[in-house]
């Protein structure tokens, strides 16, 4: 499964980068969303995949029974998901604002800093 997941992550990275390299500003947003998903999935896979054993401890027990999934990558990804949403919102509003000011949806026309 890790092998398949590695291929999926590669595809997601390639797709997000391709979208971020387009000139149309709206496609940049799609690229950003794909990128955060790809990065989270990369981290998740690198931490190792475990089927059906969430890192929960049964009531009354001191430690989990048997091997469970690594909780640390999960904790890091959880906050990353929320943060990437915040960043996405910021990027969206920034692009919206840039579009209003420059009145152009072509990134190549937005490269001047003085407009």
């Amino acid at each position: 499964m890790e092998t398949l997941m590695a291929v999926l992550v590669g595809i997601a990275f390639a797709a997000s980068l391709y979208m971020m390299m387009r000139r149309s500003i709206v496609k940049l947003i799609i690229g950003l969303i794909l990128l955060s998903n790809a990065a989270n999935l990369l981290f998740f896979t690198a931490g190792g995949l475990t089927r059906g054993a969430p890192p929960l401890i049964p009531e009354g027990a001191e430690a989990p029974a048997g091997a469970v999934a690594d909780p640390l990558p999960q904790a890091l990804i959880l906050t990353a998901i929320v943060i990437s949403f915040g960043v996405l919102a910021f990027a969206l509003v920034l692009i919206r604002k840039a579009y209003q000011v420059v009145q152009a949806d072509d990134l190549d026309q937005m490269k001047g800093t003085d407009t």
Binding site: M1, S24, L42, I57, L72, G86, R96, D108
Partner: protein
Amino acid sequence: MLVAVLAGFILAALVPWLQPYFGERAGRLYALLPAALTLYFATFLPGVAAGEASQAVYPWVPGLGLELAFYLDGLSLLLALLISGIGAFVVLYAGDYLHGDPRQARFFVQLLAFMASMLGLVLSDNLIALFIFWELTSITSYLLIGFDHEDATARRAALQGLVVTVGGGLALLAGLVLLGTVAGTYTISEIVTQGEAIREHGHYVPLLLLVLLGAFTKSAQVPFHFWLPNAMAAPTPVSAYLHSATMVKAGVYLLARLHPALGGTDAWIAICSLIGGATMVTGAYLAVRSTGIKWVLAYSTVMALGTLTMLAGVGTEAAMVAFVVFLLGHSLYKGALFLVAGGLEHGTGTKDLLAMGGLRRAMPITALLAAVSALSLAGLPPLFGFIGKELMLESLLAAPFAGVLLTLLAVVTALLVVAAAGAVALRPFFGPYRETPEVPHEPSNAMLAGPAVLGLLSLLFGLVPGIPGDAFVSAAAGALSSEPVHAHLALWHGLTLPLGLSALAVAGGALLYSRWDRARAAMRRIDAPLYERGPEAGYDRLMAALSDLARRVTPVLQHGYLRYYIATTVLTLVALVGLTLITRYEGGLATAIDVRFYELAIAVLFVVATVFACRTQSRLGAVVSVGVVGYAVALFYLLFSAPDLSITQILVETLTVILLVLVLFKLPGFVSFSSPRQRAWDALVAGLLGTLVTLLLLVAVDHQFAAPISEYHLAESVPLGHGRNVVNVIIVDYRALDTLGEIFVVALAAIGVYSMIQYTRPAREERS
């Protein structure tokens, strides 16, 4: 002791609230703090005179071994007393000097913060803490030089001081880190006991050069001396305090403090005594050449700093005693003279010595105070400056390295300084009376108190040199040479060679002063071409070259095309990491292919949705397919034991769609701008990165380089964390600091969105 250091910062923080209550009298109130600190430090005098040193250690970040350590021995005590004592008079003085100035509050904030930084600097027993206080003094000095920030000259001078001292500070940081590594500790009191090991270490020479560079820039040694006179753009109390009595001493203090650890080698002796000697003569020469009263004083400060560096370089016991006496003497008379200069400037409205004359009738007290301190500057008996100069000459005559040369330089310097002292103390007050922009009047009592007390001390210490000698000179000199020193200070040493040299210098100086106007003209004729190519011109050229370079480089690096930034980053990454992977990697790749049917189905869905999101020309189609990708990811999380992630992902995915609906459809539709060739190239770059990520992931999954720390998380979650959901325990307990940072980021993003939208409205109104 922590309180003593922090008190200045605390008072500085309170100034904005105190100022409105106390208004014009606020300066007198603030002066109580340095006065109290002076008394506090004075209580250490008996102990220090008996050879004791006080230490105070406060844990700061115990987990990292960081602590705030303070150390008070003779040297630190001497400087702490000077900083707080002169500080009290300067604060008192500044209240009247800036009488009616609306910027008083800002001034006191900066001045008090500076005082606290300086105290921290001389009391720190930790190299890193010392460095932090060191940089704080640079920053407060920058603010104070540029206090008159509407004046372009002041701004330039402030920046120049900052660039030079902070540039040197960078070198110092490297030097201190190297020193800490070599010594194995950052505690100064431990480092100074390991001098031999440090001096024999292979890194000694680079370490020494870096530390010296930091000290020399701070203490305005040749060729960095030019920033100090320019710093005279600051208000006069600042010049008196920072740029003569205290801050510029920081570099010299560092030399003295580290002398037991670094000093005594050929490199140290040669560099310090030669640079110091050169600075000493240059300063004295330029002092005689100048006509602005503050410039004469500033250059004579450069002279004094050079002398101190030279004495630190010579490093004999006699030189150490001379160092301490000279430092104390200089602080007393130079602080007083600057305050007198401020009074003159205040009372007459001009800073030019040539514009003043015959003021002794209008300003008799000022004239008297100027004379006392100027005598000390010129090194005439019975003032304390005389003792310092005699000791210096004596130690130079016995110097192990280049003694004759240094003595010669010192005599020439003494001669020039006598003339400069005459220019400051005689020129304004004697001779024919000259009209000045303002009707000359005596400054207020608060402004006279400082020069009066400092002048009296110069006289008292000169007449009864045993007082400072027993109280701290021996102890301070002992701190410099790491062996107990007993200093015998006396006004009369008998008919010695130094006395003869002094007499020669005084006679020559008096002659030079009598022909000052002609001498100055001659000097200007001779050195004009030199000035054009001096270090200050070099600084200007360097700054110009820097902006020129920035102008050329920026358009190349910051071209503004996002896709080329991405391509550059990706190709560099692929080339470097890919190359390493191919040439160095010998292990295998993960080939676990135990895929269940439903997992394969989700994978296919994921790929189809991803590809569709890239290919579609419809915004709605893209939003929907991105949503499908997100839900597929959520399913993966669920299948592979991450229920928390799965829930979060589904919720965020839903909110993302709402957000996209709110904004995306207000934006223009998808347009294809790029040519097919461009698209193929971009796809190639993106594909390369995708392949690299896949390969790296396969390598990572196949290897475990260290035992996972989550075993600890799992084992202690219930006993220590009181929680059975280990993911949540990590978020709110094990890694709570991390989470705190993350919720701050979320909050910042929200504030960013809010302010960007709020900002839109007025802009629109303006346009319509």
